[in-house]
Symmetry: C2
Subunit: 326 residues, 2 copies
């Protein structure tokens, strides 16, 4: 089942069920007004949503034609956005790029940061860049949307709390990161609003590609129409979503609708390309002595799409254009 | 006007207006079902809430007797919890306690961290401590609750976005902090759920004590019935709430209902006492060579109350008992 959130002038948008091919939708207001409301009462809302999906996919109802520009993020605002950094190739390259060592516990203790979640970007929202010197970068990631997670949940019990899967562009301001991390309180100004979607899908949409707490899918990043990364999100996710969940639930509980991210998808095989420019710039530095690729500038467009084994798009196309403030 | 959130079996509770003396309340369902809903449409909900407060304070309606144990946090879950660390005396003492240097930009660049906000504790909820070795500590703070804050908001324009003021206990697990900060992504496991309330009040309740983006009030922390701190939240708040707001809004916007904290209230005058045990332990180390005060253990009770110039309680009494998991 694919879900999305339609812009309707309200803060949290209107929940819709999307046809399997992503080309049509039906409104789900009768089941739940918003995706958050659906997640808050998932046991009672899921059957009604699945019934709508079945009617739409079988052709029993035609639905309305879907234009991705009508869509918000699946959750236009969420109660938490927790982002891991589970692809160690990414951690090693990016830390090298800013002259920092990976932590000695890199392979045993997951890296996660608490992101801002009160204002999230829709999948076609512009990336507004007040100052090009901030070093705007994209980061293509897989994200799971959780049900209520109790304190102390273990990895072995985590699968039951994964309600939906989607993708994000975890926007970063690279040149603000070093000074911010030097203060030791983590990211803040260096992480502007993150973009999600278009679609959030139930794990069964991935079939056997959802296994061991990892999405064995391809994440394709396209910059100004040129594919810059076609990365495998599966085996190189060192800590699975289940392990990330155990890590974050060690000392507190999470509410339904919490977003948990994988970190930038990254493969050691350079032929796969990149899911963020910081990696590209580091590879250039290693190979050519200095970075050639600039960070994003006004007018640049970044597209992110996640493909299953047949090449079909799982979450639709996230497509964002950088622009200066109005 | 004083507001609070009544436990009613729902996730977000029911909005109530509290009488000025904190002893009675009226339900505000007719105006807004929840505090978040009130904040989402503040221009249209504030007049109705103020009318209820006026009738309650004037005695035109009696209201229901208020038992603080009936109350959730004002926002049982919020879209963001952003916490500053604006009392430099606290930063200096706590960093000294863990052998870390304050950042060189301590006096010019605010420290803030992004906290978890999906599961917040009510003012009388127990502090559940799975492992006493984690080093449980309280931190008494002032918190403002914001309206919608645009990207790029400046300190000079910030006052209009402060809707409500309350207090919190920003619970910390001190012994988990060093390893976590060493990874450079900020706090996560070391910050379990934060407790807020009982009441959130409009700035006019503070009268002239709300000025220059600071709450010139006393924050009193009581441990097992003994007052351990009676600190002045005013002049030593090095960065005002307005400056903190400018800092966090540099690269993104915030939704209504965002919680912004002051950091642990702390005074250089040791006669004022402390608002967290880490400070006490550092003072003992300086004066006696080692800490004598243990961190919190099962059975300990911490009370936090904020007093105005007349000694009246502004936000009611937060009172939490530490216990092991059931």
């Amino acid at each position: 089942m694919k879900l999305a959130t339609l812009r309707d002038g309200t803060r949290d948008g209107a929940l819709v069920v999307v046809r399997h091919d992503g080309a049509a939708f039906v409104r789900a207001d009768d089941v739940a007004r918003t995706l958050q409301a659906a997640l808050d009462a998932w046991t009672s809302t899921e059957p009604g949503l699945r019934a709508l999906a079945q009617r739409l996919d079988s052709g029993a109802v035609e639905g309305e034609p879907l234009d991705v520009r009508q869509l918000h993020a699946p959750l236009p605002r969420a109660y938490e956005w927790v982002d891991g950094s589970a692809y160690l190739n990414h951690v090693r390259l990016v830390r090298k790029a800013r002259g920092a060592e990976p932590p000695p516990t890199l392979e045993t203790d997951p890296l996660v940061y608490q992101g801002g979640s009160g204002v999230l970007l829709g999948p076609t929202d512009d990336l507004v860049l007040p100052d090009p010197d901030w070093g705007l970068d994209f980061e293509s990631e897989i994200v799971v949307i959780l049900g209520d997670v109790p304190l102390g949940t273990r990895a072995g019990d985590a699968n039951q709390f994964v309600r939906l899967i989607t993708q994000c562009n975890d926007v970063s301001l690279r040149n603000l990161i070093p000074n911010e991390l030097a203060k030791s309180f983590g990211f803040f100004q260096s992480k502007p609003a993150t973009a999600f979607g278009p679609f959030a899908v139930t794990p069964d949409e991935l079939g056997s590609a959802w296994r061991d707490g990892r999405a064995h899918v391809r994440v394709r990043s396209t910059l100004n129409g040129r594919v810059v990364g076609d990365t495998d999100a599966g085996p190189e996710m060192h800590f699975s979503f289940f392990q990330l969940l155990e890590h974050v639930a060690k000392t507190r509980a999470f509410t339904a609708g919490t977003l948990l991210g994988s970190g930038t998808v990254s493969n050691a095989d350079r032929a796969r390309g990149i899911s963020c420019l910081a990696e590209q710039r580091m590879i250039e530095t290693i190979e050519q002595g200095k970075p050639r690729t600039p960070f994003l500038r006004a007018g640049d467009r970044i597209d992110v799409e996640t493909l299953d084994g047949t090449g079909a798009s799982l979450f639709g196309r996230l497509s964002q254009t950088v622009r200066a403030p109005a």
